[in-house]
């Protein structure tokens, strides 16, 4: 069996591990446009801070590919897939034949429809190259705007602030992490960011990146041009002078980071007949609509267990689960994924924020319970839907939140003990005896479901 994997991040690595659980022999070729061995994307903010060195960025040990018997083609983009002849055509003209193909191309930052985005000095915060470049401009007392107060933007702002950069965090949303937190939780994060010296401009849209008119422009959002863009910035062929906001005010900045969400890198699948919606549509086995082609990770649009619809869940844990299942199935195994649950855990300037499922949603079909003491950095929000746990957010103390995550997946009736869910001491002993007796996740969802 010949396997080709496009991508080299979580879902791709998980797929390698999945394939090898079933098939120790088959030839695996992994191709990726980034030139680095697999690294942990969330570590880029730690790299920027200087807390993690380049050699410690690895998502897997350096001998991973050799040990797993994987041929790697790094630094080469897969240009297109020819599904009829089962070939992947690389940018350099090479062709790779496959029996099973996994598309795990991930996502890229959303290119904001804002003038000046193409200016050197406007950075993204997604790849190692982004922070390698940023590390050279981020210096104490310089000024930066971070556009987008989601998880990525917040981590970028924190890292820059730790380096000594004066950071202003800009977002149209009324508070940071608005995608996962409710206003009360977001307010805590705002306070924490401000304590760390970050200026927040919330509820404020960006109008323009203002710069030196002499600056040569690069086409926006095109990956191949990012390096060139960063290069020009670094050699000083630009001056980003500031950003202009919709309320008419301006911020003087030396550089900016755009972290306004991500879009799936579906291009490689275009023209193959693979069904694409927002991401590449996959079933519970991670199969696309074309036989032999699988997709997993940020590029895939799979079943969302909580929202009960197909949706891109761009989180690392979800990428691993999907990638592994894809790998096992590509190698002839038979695993079905019950569905993803969006789950995040992040440390914002020392404040732990964890969320899963419908962590900030409201609605007539939802019952929301909150507890905590926000001034003392404690908050817990529980969302119930039809007596089932549909989501949670824990701020300050995230201890044992995994039991809540599993309760979401277990879809058990939590009404008999629903108030206990708000207690930081909530544990397995609080589960009704029959549920506790079958609380077995040692073989993942399968062992839970089988009991």
């Amino acid at each position: 069996m010949r396997y080709v994997i496009i991508g080299n991040s979580t879902a791709a690595i998980a797929a390698v591990e999945g394939i090898r659980r079933v098939d120790a022999q088959g030839a695996i070729t992994l191709v990726a446009d980034e030139a680095y061995p697999t690294y942990s994307r969330p570590l880029i903010s730690y790299y920027l801070e200087g807390r993690v060195a380049e050699e410690d960025m690895g998502y897997r040990p350096p001998d991973f590919y050799a040990r797993q018997g994987v041929q790697v083609r790094l630094g080469v983009r897969a240009a297109r897939v020819e599904a009829s002849s089962r070939r992947v055509v690389l940018e350099d003209g090479d062709e790779l034949e496959y029996d099973r193909l996994l598309i795990a191309t991930g996502s890229r930052p959303l290119a904001l429809p804002v003038p000046g985005l193409e200016r050197p000095g406007v950075f993204y915060f997604n790849r190692f190259d982004d922070v390698r470049a940023l590390a050279r401009v981020a210096a104490p007392r310089r000024k930066a705007a971070v556009v987008g107060a989601g998880l990525t933007g917040v981590k970028a702002a924190e890292a820059l602030a730790r380096v000594g950069v004066h950071v202003t965090l800009v977002d149209l949303a009324p508070y940071p992490l608005s995608a996962v937190l409710d206003p009360a939780g977001g307010e805590m994060v705002r306070r924490r960011l401000e304590t760390a010296g970050i200026t927040l401009r919330m509820g404020c849209a960006l109008e323009e990146f203002v710069g030196d008119s002499r600056t040569a422009q690069v086409f926006p959002g095109e990956w191949q041009d990012l390096k060139e863009k960063y290069r020009r910035c670094l050699v000083g062929q630009h001056r980003l002078t500031g950003v202009r906001l919709q309320d008419g005010s301006s911020l003087q900045v030396d550089f900016a980071v755009v972290a306004a969400g991500v879009v799936p890198n579906v291009e490689v699948a275009e023209g193959t007949g693979v069904e694409i919606h927002r991401g590449i549509l996959v079933n519970e086995r991670m199969e696309t609509s074309v036989e032999g082609i699988y997709a997993a990770g940020d590029v895939a649009e799979g079943w969302d267990l909580v929202r009960k619809e197909r949706r891109v869940i761009a989180t690392l844990p979800n990428a691993y689960r999907q990638g592994e299942i894809a790998g096992v199935n590509m190698a002839g195994g038979n695993l079905a994924f019950a569905g993803g649950v969006a789950m995040n855990s992040v440390n914002v300037c020392g404040l732990h924020v964890a969320s899963a499922g419908l962590s900030n949603a409201e609605g007539p079909e939802l019952e929301v319970m909150v507890a905590g003491d926000p001034p003392r950095w404690r908050y817990r929000r529980i969302t119930l839907r039809e007596g089932r746990l549909a989501g949670f957010a824990c701020i300050g103390n995230v201890g044992r939140a995994g039991i809540l995550t599993a309760l979401i997946r277990a879809e058990v009736d939590v009404r008999p003990f629903q108030l206990r869910l708000l207690d930081e001491g909530f544990g397995l002993a609080d589960l009704p005896e029959p549920v506790r007796r079958k609380w077995d996740w040692e073989r993942g969802e399968r062992s839970w479901a089988s009991r």
């Binding site: 998980a14 942990s40 994307r41 969330p42 570590l43 730690y46 807390r51 993690v52 410690d56 690895g58 998502y59 897997r60 690392l316 844990p317 691993y320 689960r321 592994e324 789950m343 995040n344 855990s345 992040v346 440390n347 732990h352 964890a354 899963a356 824990c394 995230v398 201890g399 044992r400 939140a401 995994g402 039991i403 995550t405 599993a406 997946r409 544990g427 397995l428 002993a429 609080d430 609380w439 996740w441 040692e442 073989r443 993942g444 399968r446 062992s447 839970w448």
Partner: protein, 152 residues
């Protein structure tokens, strides 16, 4: 390959939490001395097992050493993994950034946020390198804990 883990007998667990005291000690700078571990170790670790109690029910829960560990699959950095030799789930502490994604992933709540200047994920390591029998098992006054070996 077989793997080991600590299992509890809830008929015998009396909720005294001596397991936690000895777990802390075993992972401190003074593995053989409770007093020194608690009095002299400025970076005293947190216990790697949780004692749960409601009414007469109590049990000391530690890592189940899952065959399909959610924590490993969720780990952002690859710091968590299954040890090839022992089959147990282990944390490579130097690579852990303390994001607690594993804490939010573990269905048992068996991973705890560590203590100290550089807090890392703290979970049962079966006292692997230091003792032949995990400290919690050895010192459980009511023999409520034991090591179970499981074929994989």
């Amino acid at each position: 390959m077989s793997s080991k883990r600590v299992v509890w007998n809830e008929e015998a667990c009396i909720g005294c939490r001596l397991c936690q005291v000895h777990c802390v000690t075993a992972h401190s700078r003074f593995p053989g001395d409770v007093l020194k571990a608690f009095k002299l170790d400025p970076q005293r670790p947190v216990p790697r097992l949780v004692v749960e109690e409601t009414g007469p029910l109590s049990f000391a829960l530690s890592c189940r050493q899952c065959e399909e560990p959610e924590c490993v699959k969720s780990c952002l950095t690859g710091a968590l993994g299954i040890d090839r030799q022992t089959g147990t789930v282990k944390v490579e502490e130097a690579r852990c950034i303390g994001c607690w994604t594993c804490v939010v992933a573990c269905p048992y709540g068996a991973i705890r946020a560590g203590a100290g200047d550089h807090p890392v994920a703290s979970k049962c390591d079966l006292c692997g390198e230091t003792r032949s029998v995990p400290a919690c098992v050895e010192f459980c006054p009511n023999e409520a804990l034991r090591v179970e070996e499981r074929g994989v």
